[in-house]
Amino acid sequence: MSVRANVKALVVHTLLGAAVIYALYPVLWVVTIAFSRDGLGTDGFVFPWPRDPSFMNFAIATGISTGKGALFLRQFVNSLAVASATALMSVAVAAPAAYALARLPFVGKRTGLRALMLTQMFPTVASAVPLYFLLSQLHLLDRRAGLVIAYSASALPFAIFQLKAAFEAIPVELEEAAMVDGATRFGALVRVVLPAARPALAVTALFAFMSAWNEFVLAATLMSREEAFTLPVVLQRFVGEHAAAWGPFAAGSLLVSIPVMAVFYIAQKQLLSGLTAGSVKG
């Protein structure tokens, strides 16, 4: 029995190991470019590894080499603030809406759901310019709040769908019990449904965080002061008309992805703690 379990574990680890190699191999190229002083070698070799490792590209990407380190820090804070606030806002707005769609009957529900899906089907090829006009009317240009509002709105449809499905999976008896105990419906949502849907809330927040964290086109269009830039805009500065400075670009990209990984590592407990299991008994 235990031999069989060990073999099984070995198979699982082998499969996961293969997946990790698949996931990391292209990133190793980015790492190699980031740590190479003279760009990427051109030998066509199989195992990426910097031959002349140096931190120069990181110094350039963070502005340390040009004395702009403080500015980079500020832009990092911008990114963090915008992405966190987007995650918070979109979940806060989506959760009640998703709850109503999951539980409450109301006129226009089906139409609303379909319209929500329709917004995702329209390519955004021509909508950046109208959005710019809109936010300039609202005096939200050059303000992080403007970015947060725009990002949260675009993250809403997915958040609503995801949370609606998660709420539907929660047994309705949970809220009913709370309401019998004297809670209002909203109280039941906050105290019973939301804690039970924590994994889905975490996935939704993570998704909103990621989309805001990596967004570049809107940020570059809406923000016109260096102190207001977010990191993807700073990164995109390394891509010019004819050629790109790959070294600093790759180094910056790696730096940008570290906080995301950290957030994921911390949040995964929330993602995966099956709280609903066995909670409807008695």
Partner: protein
């Protein structure tokens, strides 16, 4: 009911607290208000040039006390940001951009005449070609020459001690493992010198397509010869050219000053203008780009802005930036003490170059010309007839992308709109049951839950989309759009008069898009589900590490990884072919055939997208009650039965929206296609949305056309979802 055990690990509290702190900080400390009377200068320079401009701004501020704010904008966003911002009076006072965009900026009303700030527009202070270019077709000066850009020959003096007297001599200087010459062989901009040498021009008079006839044929045949004989590396882009030079694998390269400024110290190099090409009648003159200092209309009347612009273009300021760029002023070049040797060579090269046309049609030549070059490079045989056929096809593409003078009377459209609204109102009225209003009143409680989401989505998502969709009824470049009725739609649906299933036609592209979506979503779900199931095994060790490593593809910005993939699939230097060679297989020219290029795109997008699906499924798996699974296990259910009877049905509610949205997003995922295959070969791997982007950004900026594509994409997806709903309803 069992009481919920309050679990509050410190990490969760820490996370929630820092989120809250960030949100509060966001509201409390927005950027400080800018100085009231500041002068704003925008540019898209990088590296040494960026630093030089920043120093000039700081210096002016220190000397005059006028606040100067210099903003370096990412190149990719520059043009669209300029036109949006200046139109809303939020833009810069002064900006720097290449002369090719002068005409369109002027027509959009983004510019003030240079005479406003330069009363004595002193033409002799600037290079004479540059001054000519700064005058637009109407003869008035709309910009002040600032810097000159062009390519030259950069030679590694160790590998090639003797400077070549001709291209032929350069090509003969063969060393083991070293390319005599490297350049972006598939770029129209760098190919231009060969075309010019053989007597051609990219754009003829009256916007005629110039990449045709004898000169074009001889130029591409020559370039093909360079590549096929191994003199020049195959399909190199700018970054690869630079790498080859830096790693001493190329003895000489054709490139601009940017490469030189990033070379390591003590690198042995010398810059010279391109040597003559003996086989051709004329000199191989590269294209010249003149960067202009441009003033915006609102601020041209502000005397402090004029004073700043005059100083920025002055000889004094030019001396300060001549180390970083080829200034357009004449005077600094007479002073040997300030001019670096390499810059002088680039200046000499620039003086021999040919200024690019300022016509909007010029930018529309790049795509067909590059297609023709790539076509010839990859053709199995390249006799005159084969080349001519490729050139004819590229010309046909150029002609069919030309904006057409469509104008329709808006009356019919307005009547249709009115009728449509009326019919909708009637239909709604008739469908509304008597209980409708009482129903609405009863729903008031529920509306309180959805009101914020509704407002946010309507104002910030729906309105901009509708505004974009309205553009689909207009034609022409953005600043002179005319009403075209359904003209754009008719054009697209009839494949602009070409064969209905020809390359780049709507129908063919649609088929590719459907195949693309199916392939991606199937692989995303399979891989995501498989990994999620493995990771959810209760006894698995190092779960957290696996999970975190497996989301790396999602965490790293996709722009850089997509380009890493493009590099991996490079025929000569890519890792994929290196692996194939290691195992003894034939290397593949990935972007030369539809199937392999498509596979490369799918491989990239699957890699980018599987972690998302995995995370969604991991979240959904928590809804599967463990005790039920355990009970099934005790009852003797096989793992497959447990999965198919219990886990999978319970996953579905959260899986379905993720899959549907994933399919919709994949359908509209343009940047992977754009960055990896770039539509190669011959736009065959383009999907609908990347076609739309081409119309908006490379083909005469025809936003109306792009918007029509967007509306058609929307229509297709809408129809698909309706049909699938109906099938679903029928099957249950």
């Amino acid at each position: 009911m069992k009481a919920q055990k309050p679990r509050a690990p410190w990490k969760a509290w820490f996370l929630a607290f820092s989120l809250l702190l960030a949100a509060v900080g966001l509201v409390a400390s927005d950027c400080k208000a800018p100085a009231a009377n500041r002068i704003v200068l925008w540019h898209a320079y990088r590296g040494a040039e960026e630093e030089a401009i920043a120093q000039l701004g700081a210096r002016y501020q220190a000397e005059t006390g006028t606040a100067v704010e210099v903003l370096a904008v990412p190149f990719l966003a520059y043009a669209s940001k300029l036109s949006s911002a200046i139109a809303r009076d939020q833009g810069p006072d002064v900006f720097i951009d290449a002369h090719e965009r002068l005409s369109s900026y002027r027509e959009e009303g983004l510019l003030a005449r240079a005479e406003a700030a330069f009363p004595k527009y002193d033409i002799d202070r600037y290079d004479s070609i540059a001054s000519t270019v700064a005058r637009d077709e109407d003869g008035a000066a709309w910009g002040v020459p600032f810097a000159l850009k062009g390519v030259a020959l950069i030679v590694n003096t160790e590998l090639m001690p003797e400077l070549p007297a001709s291209v032929e001599q350069l090509v003969k200087a063969r060393n083991d493992g070293v390319f005599p010459l490297a350049y972006e062989s598939e770029s129209a901009y760098v190919h231009a010198p060969w075309l010019h040498a053989f007597g051609g021009a990219m754009l003829g008079p009256n916007d005629a397509y110039g990449f045709t006839g004898e000169s074009a044929r001889r130029s591409v045949a020559f370039a093909r010869g360079l590549v096929s004989s191994g003199v020049v590396p195959n399909g190199a882009d700018g970054a690869l050219v630079k790498q080859l030079f830096e790693s001493r694998k190329a003895a000489a390269i054709i490139a601009g000053p940017g490469v030189v400024s990033e070379l390591p110290p003590h690198f042995p190099y010398q810059v010279v203008p391109l040597p003559p090409l003996r086989a051709a009648p004329s000199r191989p003159d590269p294209f010249l780009t003149v960067e202009l200092l441009l003033l915006t209309p609102r601020t041209a009347s502000r005397p402090e802005v004029s004073a700043f612009a005059r100083w920025l273009a002055s000889d004094e300021a030019a001396k300060l930036r001549v180390r970083a760029q080829v200034v357009a002023n004449n005077q600094p070049w007479h002073d040997d003490t300030v001019v670096p040797v390499a810059m002088r060579a680039f200046h000499e090269a620039a003086l021999r170059s040919r200024p690019m046309s300022t016509r909007a049609a010029m930018r529309a030549t790049w795509e067909p010309v590059e297609q023709a070059i790539r076509g010839v490079m990859r053709a199995a045989a390249a006799d005159d007839a084969a080349i001519d056929a490729i050139l004819a096809e590229s010309r046909r593409r150029f002609e069919s992308a030309r904006p057409r003078a469509v104008s329709a009377s808006p009356t019919r459209g307005l009547v249709a709109l009115g009728l449509g609204l009326l019919l909708t109102a009637i239909a709604l009225y008739r469908r509304a049951k008597p209980r409708f209003w009482s129903g609405v009143r009863a729903s008031a409680g529920a509306y309180a839950y959805v009101v914020y989401a509704t407002i946010a989505v309507f104002v910030l998502v729906v309105l901009p989309l509708v505004a974009g969709a309205v553009m689909s009824f207009f034609a022409g470049p953005r600043h002179q759009m005319t009403y075209a009725g359904l003209g754009n739609y008719v054009d697209i649906l009839t494949a602009r008069g070409g064969p209905l299933f020809g390359y780049g036609s709507f129908y063919r592209t649609l088929l590719v898009t459907v195949a693309w979506t199916i392939a991606n979503v199937a692989l995303h779900v399979t891989i995501g589900l498989g990994l999620a199931l493995l990771l959810s095994r209760p006894l698995l060790r190092a779960k957290g590490v696996y999970r975190t490593l497996l989301i790396v593809p999602w965490a790293v910005p996709s722009y850089v990884t997509a380009l890493a993939y493009k590099g991996m699939f490079h025929q000569q230097f890519g890792a994929v072919n290196a692996i194939l060679r290691k195992v003894g297989a034939e290397p593949v020219a990935w972007f030369s055939h539809f199937s392999t290029a498509f596979a490369a795109n799918v491989a990239t997008n699957v890699w980018l997208g599987f972690p998302f699906m995995m995370v969604v499924i991991l979240g959904a798996l928590t809804n599967v009650p463990k005790d039920v699974l355990e009970a099934a296990d005790i009852d003797g259910a096989t793992p497959w039965q447990r999965f198919s009877r219990i886990t999978f049905p319970l996953l579905l509610p959260q899986l379905v929206p993720a899959v549907v949205l994933g399919a919709v997003w994949t359908f509209n995922m343009f940047n992977v296609v754009f960055l990896v295959s770039g539509g190669e070969p011959d736009n065959q791997t383009d999907i609908l949305v990347s076609e739309a982007y081409r119309w908006a950004f490379t083909r005469h900026a025809q936003y109306g056309y792009a918007a029509a594509y967007a509306v058609l994409i929307f229509g297709i997806l809408w129809l698909t979802s309706r049909l699938s709903r109906r099938w679903q309803a029928e099957s249950t």
